[in-house]
C-alpha cells in the first residue's frame, strides 16, 4: 500500500514535473502569505508582516531546492541543468557544433546503413524451422571440373536408407517450371518438386490447407501446394481454394494448401508438387538436397560421416566413382557471393566512424582548450572532477544524439536507394542458382543500434577533453587567462595520436577503393566473348510432360522451335534471333559432361566440356566470332550426319596445335554416334565474368532438341514495343505457349557484377569521405598547433626569418606526424586488403602501383592540409603577435 502510494507520488511528480516545480513554489509562497496574515492581524503593516514572514521562513531558494530533492528528483534536476547548460555552450559555438554534428551524422549514418544491410541480408534468419542447422549437400568431381553438382534421385534414396547419424532428415527438391493453362493467358510458373517430407522438414505452417504427407510419395498423386504470392495474384487470396483444381502441364492437379508468405524468401515459387517414388528412382543428377543436422552435430562431423558412407556405397555404385561430397551451411551458401562485399564495406564504414570520432574528439579538444579558464574557475569554486566530466559527457552526448538522428535519416535514404538500385538476385557461385535477396528495412533494431553507437561515440570522445584538461594544473590556467605557452599545451600527445590514426585510416580506405577501381575496370573490360548490348533473352518450355502432348516427339519439337525463331526473325526491329539451351552468365543450369575424341582413343587426359544445343544463327546473333570452318546450317538436322562446333578453349586444351576440323567427338553417356567437328568459335564466359571460359561443345538443335530453350534476340528498336510483337509471334504458332524469364543481357550482366559493383561504388564514396575527414582533421590539428605558436612566429619574423622558411619549418614538423600515420596505414592496408581478394579481379591485393599511388594521394592531401594554416600563420603582423601574451 505504502509502496504504491509512494510510487504514485513519484509518478505524478514525473508526469507533472514542471507543474510540480511551480506547485512547490506556490505552496511555499502561500505559507509565507498565511504567516503574514497572522502577523498583520497582530497589528503590523502588511509590508512589514510579509518581510517578517520571509525572515521567519528561512532561505527560500534553499528550502525550495531541498523540497525538490525530497521529491526524488535530484538526478533529473542535475541532468536537466547539465543539458540546459550544455545546449547553451553548444549554441554559443555554432560552427563547432555544426561541424561535430555533421561529421558524426556521416559516420553514424554510414554505419547504420551498412548495419541495416548486414542485418537484413547476412544475419536474417531463414524463415523455416532450425534454419541454422540446414546444410546443402552437393556432389563434386574435381577431376572433371565439377565443383558443385546436384545429386541424383538414387543418391538421395541411398542416403536416406543409410540413415546417416548426423542428420535428422534429408530433403530433396528440384527447381522447374510448369505451364498453367485454362485460366487466362498461358503462364509458365516457377515450380518446385519436393520429397513429401517437405512440410515437416521446414516446419511449414501453411497459410491454408496442408502440405504433403510422407505416404503421398508411394503413388503418383496430382497434388499441388500454391505459393502465397501466386495465390494472392491469381486467386485474390480465395480462402476456399483448397480442393479446387489447376491445369498444370495439361494435367489436373488438386490444390491442397497455400504456403506462408515468408517461404518466398527461401524458395520464391508459385507451385510445389511432390516427387513420387518412381520418379525418384529415375531422376537424373542436378537435384537439390538439403540435410537438417542434429542439434549438436557440426558441419565437419556430418561431412566426415557422409564421406564414410559414400566410400561404402561406392563399392555397389560404380557410377559414383571419382565423386566426393561438398557440405555447406545453407545460410552461408546463399550469401556467399555478397558476403565479402558487405564485410569489406562494414569494415570501411567502421573506419569512417573512427575517423569521424577522431575529428570530433579533436574538435572537442580544441573547444575544451578554449574553455580552460571556465573549467579552472569552476574547479576553484568547488566543482568536483566528476561534475566537470559529467558536463563534458552531457555535451558530447548531445552532439552525438543529434548527429545520430541525422545519421538515421541518412541511413533511411540509403536503404531506400538500396531498395531501388541494389541487386534483387545474386548468384550462388558454381551452382547455377540464384538467390533472391530479402527486402531490407530500417526497423527498431537499427534504431537501437544507432542510439547505442551514438551514445558510445559520445562517451568516448566526450571523455578525452576533460581527462586531458583535468590532468593539468588548473591554477596556471587561471593565471594565464586560458592562453598558456607551448610547454603547457595539454593534449599534444592526444592530437598526435589522432593525426596518426586519421592518416592511417584514410590510407587504408584509399588503397581499398583504388584496388576496387582497378579491379572493376578490369572486370568491365573483360570480353565475355559475345556482344551484350541490345540483346533480349526469354525462355520457352514446350509442355512435353503433359500426357498426350505433341511435343513428346523430338521431330515435332524441332519443327515448333524452328517456327518460333522464323516468326520472330520476321518482326520489324528484330535484327536476328536464335535459340540456345543456356544463356551465357544467366546462371542457367549448366550441362557438363565427359566426351572422347574418336581419333585419339588412348588419350589419358580426362575430357569434359559444357554441352550446348543451339539453333542456326546463334553465333551470328550473339556475335561470337567464327574462327575456323563453318557454323550450323539449316541442313544440319537429324536426316544429315551428326556435327559439332567447338570453342577455342576446347580446341586449345584438347587438340593443341592439331587441326580439330574433321575430327570426331563421341559422347560416352549418349548414343556413341561420332560427331564431326565442323567449326571453331570464340570462347564465351558462361558462369561468371571473372572465371576463365570453360571448354564448350555446341550441338545443332535440330539434331535432337530439348524441351526448354532460351531465345536470344538482337533488337534495333526499344524493348517495350518489340516484346509484345515477339509474344504474339510465338503465340501465332502455339496459343498455349508461355514465355518467361524475359530479361535483357545488360540486366543479366548487372546481376553477375553486382557484388563488385556495390563494393566499387560504396568503397569509392567512403574513401572520398575518409580523405575529406582526414584532411579536415589534419588541418584542424595543424592550425591549432600553429595558432599556439603565433608568438614564436612573431619572434622569428622579427629576427628576420623569411615567411617561406617558417612555413617550410611548420609544414615539415606537421607532416612528420602525418608520415607516421601513412606508414602505419601502409602496414594496415597490406594486412587488410587480403580479406578483399575475393572481390578483386585481375589485380593483386598488394598491387604495388596502387600502394604507391594511394600513399602519394594521401601524402599530398595531408601536406596541403598542413600548408594552409602554416601559410596563414606567417601572414600575422609580428608586433601584434608579440603583444598577444
Amino acid at each position: 500500500m505504502r509502496f504504491v502510494d509512494g510510487l504514485r507520488a513519484q509518478w505524478s511528480a514525473l508526469i507533472h514535473r514542471s507543474a510540480m516545480r511551480d506547485e512547490v513554489e506556490v505552496e511555499l509562497l502561500e505559507h509565507i502569505q498565511h504567516r503574514a496574515d497572522d502577523l498583520e492581524s497582530s497589528g503590523v503593516s502588511r509590508l512589514e508582516a510579509e518581510r517578517q514572514a520571509r525572515i521567519e521562513f528561512g532561505g527560500f531558494e534553499h528550502y525550495r531546492e531541498e523540497s525538490h530533492r525530497a521529491q526524488g528528483w535530484n538526478w533529473f534536476v542535475t541532468l536537466s541543468r547539465d543539458v540546459r547548460f550544455g545546449l547553451r555552450i553548444l549554441l554559443k559555438a555554432p560552427v563547432f557544433s555544426a561541424a561535430a554534428v555533421l561529421t558524426l551524422a556521416l559516420g553514424i549514418g554510414a554505419n547504420t546503413s551498412l548495419f541495416t544491410l548486414v542485418r537484413g541480408i547476412l544475419l536474417h534468419p531463414l524463415p523455416v524451422r532450425a534454419g541454422n542447422r540446414l546444410v546443402v549437400i552437393w556432389d563434386s568431381n574435381p577431376a572433371i571440373g565439377l565443383s558443385r553438382v546436384g545429386p541424383s534421385g538414387q543418391d538421395y534414396l541411398d542416403w536416406r536408407e543409410q540413415k546417416i547419424q548426423a542428420f535428422e532428415d534429408l530433403f530433396l527438391f528440384e527447381h522447374g517450371t510448369g505451364t498453367v493453362t485454362g485460366n487466362g493467358d498461358p503462364e509458365q510458373l516457377a515450380g518446385l518438386r519436393v520429397s513429401t517430407n517437405f512440410g515437416d522438414f521446414f516446419g511449414i505452417r501453411p497459410a491454408l490447407g496442408r502440405a504433403f504427407l510422407p505416404e503421398e510419395e508411394s503413388a503418383r498423386h496430382t497434388l499441388v501446394v500454391l505459393g502465397y504470392r501466386y495465390w494472392m495474384r491469381k486467386y485474390q487470396g480465395d480462402p476456399t481454394i483448397c480442393g479446387k483444381s489447376l491445369t498444370l502441364n495439361g494435367e489436373n492437379y488438386t490444390i491442397i494448401g497455400v504456403l506462408p508468405a515468408s517461404f518466398d524468401e527461401l524458395f520464391p515459387v508459385d507451385v510445389v508438387v511432390p516427387f513420387d517414388i518412381g520418379w525418384l528412382h529415375r531422376a537424373d543428377s542436378d537435384l537439390g538436397v538439403f540435410g537438417r543436422l542434429r542439434s549438436n552435430v557440426t558441419v565437419q562431423q556430418a561431412a566426415a560421416q557422409m564421406s564414410g558412407t559414400m566410400t561404402r556405397m561406392a563399392r555397389q555404385r560404380t557410377d559414383r566413382k571419382g565423386f566426393g561430397i561438398v557440405l555447406l551451411p545453407l545460410a552461408s551458401v546463399r550469401m556467399e557471393y555478397i558476403r565479402p562485399a558487405l564485410m569489406v564495406l562494414q569494415c570501411a564504414v567502421g573506419f569512417v566512424l573512427i575517423l569521424a570520432c577522431a575529428n570530433v574528439a579533436n574538435l572537442m579538444l580544441s573547444h575544451g582548450m578554449s574553455r580552460r579558464q571556465e573549467i579552472a574557475v569552476r574547479v576553484s569554486l568547488g566543482a568536483t572532477r566528476m561534475q566537470i566530466v559529467r558536463q563534458f559527457l552531457v555535451e558530447s552526448s548531445l552532439l552525438a544524439i543529434v548527429g545520430g538522428a541525422l545519421g538515421l535519416l541518412l541511413a533511411l535514404g540509403s536503404v531506400h536507394l538500396w531498395a531501388r538500385f541494389g541487386p534483387t538476385q545474386i548468384p550462388v557461385p558454381n551452382s547455377a542458382y540464384e538467390v533472391t535477396l530479402p527486402e531490407v528495412h530500417l526497423g527498431a533494431g537499427e534504431v537501437v543500434f544507432t542510439l547505442a553507437v551514438s551514445l558510445a561515440t559520445g562517451i568516448i570522445f566526450g571523455l578525452i577533453p576533460p581527462l586531458r584538461l583535468l590532468g593539468g594544473n588548473t591554477q596556471s590556467a587561471l593565471k594565464n587567462g586560458g592562453r598558456g605557452t607551448i610547454g603547457e599545451v595539454k593534449g599534444r600527445g592526444t592530437r598526435t595520436v589522432l593525426v596518426v590514426v586519421e592518416g592511417a585510416l584514410a590510407l587504408v580506405l584509399v588503397v581499398g577503393a583504388s584496388l576496387m577501381i582497378k579491379s572493376f575496370s578490369r572486370l568491365l573490360a573483360v570480353n565475355p566473348g559475345f556482344e551484350p548490348s541490345r540483346l533480349l533473352t526469354l525462355r520457352i518450355k514446350l509442355s512435353e510432360d503433359a500426357a498426350g502432348s505433341p511435343y513428346r516427339d523430338a521431330g515435332r519439337r524441332a519443327v515448333t522451335f524452328h517456327d518460333f525463331v522464323d516468326r520472330v526473325r520476321s518482326i520489324p526491329g528484330v535484327e536476328s534471333a536464335a535459340l540456345t539451351q543456356i544463356v551465357p552468365l544467366s546462371q542457367d543450369d549448366m550441362d557438363r559432361g565427359p566426351f572422347a575424341v574418336k581419333e585419339k582413343p588412348n588419350s589419358d587426359i580426362s575430357l569434359s566440356a559444357d554441352y550446348r544445343d543451339i539453333s542456326t544463327g546463334y553465333f551470328e546473333t550473339m556475335k561470337i566470332p567464327l574462327l575456323k570452318g563453318r557454323s550450323f546450317a539449316e541442313s544440319d538436322d537429324d536426316k544429315h550426319p551428326r556435327v559439332v562446333v567447338i570453342d577455342e578453349t576446347l580446341a586449345h586444351q584438347y587438340f593443341g596445335s592439331e587441326d580439330p576440323l574433321g575430327k570426331h567427338i563421341v559422347l560416352p553417356a549418349g548414343s556413341q554416334v561420332p560427331r564431326e567437328v565442323i567449326g571453331v568459335v570464340g570462347a564465351v564466359r558462361d558462369s561468371s565474368l571473372s572465371a576463365a571460359p570453360e571448354p564448350t561443345l555446341y550441338f545443332p538443335l535440330m539434331q535432337g532438341p530439348d524441351q526448354t530453350m532460351s531465345m536470344v534476340v538482337r533488337v534495333s528498336g526499344p524493348q517495350e514495343t518489340i516484346l509484345p510483337a515477339i509474344r504474339s509471334a510465338i503465340w501465332s504458332v502455339d496459343r498455349n505457349q508461355p514465355i518467361y524469364e524475359i530479361r535483357s543481357m545488360p540486366e543479366i550482366l548487372g546481376n553477375v557484377t553486382s557484388a563488385p559493383r556495390i563494393a566499387f561504388i560504396l568503397l569509392d564514396v567512403l574513401a572520398v569521405v575518409a580523405l575529406v575527414l582526414a584532411a579536415i582533421g589534419i588541418y584542424g590539428v595543424t592550425s591549432y598547433n600553429v595558432g599556439q605558436r603565433t608568438q614564436e612566429v612573431g619572434v622569428r619574423l622579427t629576427f628576420g626569418a623569411t615567411p617561406d622558411a617558417i612555413v617550410s619549418m611548420l609544414v615539415r614538423q606537421a607532416t612528420k606526424i602525418t608520415m607516421i600515420g601513412i606508414a602505419t596505414g601502409l602496414l594496415f592496408a597490406w594486412l587488410m586488403t587480403r580479406f578483399m581478394s575475393s572481390l578483386l579481379y585481375g589485380v593483386s591485393s598488394t598491387d604495388p602501383a596502387i600502394f604507391v599511388g594511394a600513399t602519394l594521394l594521401v601524402g599530398i592531401v595531408a601536406t596541403i592540409a598542413c600548408y594552409v594554416p602554416a601559410r596563414r600563420a606567417v601572414r600575422v603582423d609580428p608586433l601584434v603577435a608579440l603583444r598577444m601574451e
Binding site: 504504491v4 507520488a9 511528480a13 502561500e30 534553499h62 523540497s67 525538490h68
Partner: protein, 113 residues
C-alpha cells in the same frame, strides 16, 4: 526564545505525522499545530518543514489535496495514509519506550541502586 528545545533528528517527521493525524492540515497549519501540541516548546525554522513533508509524501505516509484555507487562500492539505497511520503508531510506541527508559534513567537518585 532561549527556553525552546532543539529538535532531535528524526523527530520532525513524527511531529508532522502526529499533527496531521488530528485532521487534514496545510503546511502553515501543521506548523501551528506542532507548536500548539508541543506547548510551544518545540519550533523549527518554518521552511525546514517542507522538505520533510515532501519526503513523507514520497514515502507514501502522507497524501495531499489542494484546497482553500480559512484565510481564503490556496493551500495544499496533507492527510495520513493508512501506512502513515501505522507508522505513527509504531513510532509513538517506540518513542514512549525510549522516553520512559531515558526518563527513568535520569530520575534515578543516588542510593536507589
Amino acid at each position: 526564545m532561549p527556553d525552546q528545545a532543539q529538535l532531535l533528528p528524526g523527530t520532525l517527521d513524527l511531529l508532522i505525522l502526529r499533527a496531521v493525524s488530528l485532521g487534514p492540515l496545510h503546511g502553515y497549519g501543521i506548523l501551528l499545530r506542532i507548536s500548539q501540541i508541543s506547548g510551544e516548546a518545540l519550533t523549527v525554522e518554518q521552511g525546514a518543514l517542507y522538505p520533510g513533508l515532501f519526503r513523507l509524501v514520497r514515502q507514501g505516509l502522507l497524501k495531499t489535496k489542494w484546497g482553500v484555507s480559512d484565510a481564503n487562500r490556496r493551500a495544499k492539505y496533507y492527510e495520513l495514509t493508512v501506512a502513515g497511520r501505522k507508522r505513527l503508531q509504531d513510532e509513538t510506541e517506540s518513542w514512549k519506550r525510549l522516553a520512559a527508559a531515558i526518563g527513568s534513567a535520569l530520575s534515578v537518585q543516588p542510593g536507589e541502586l
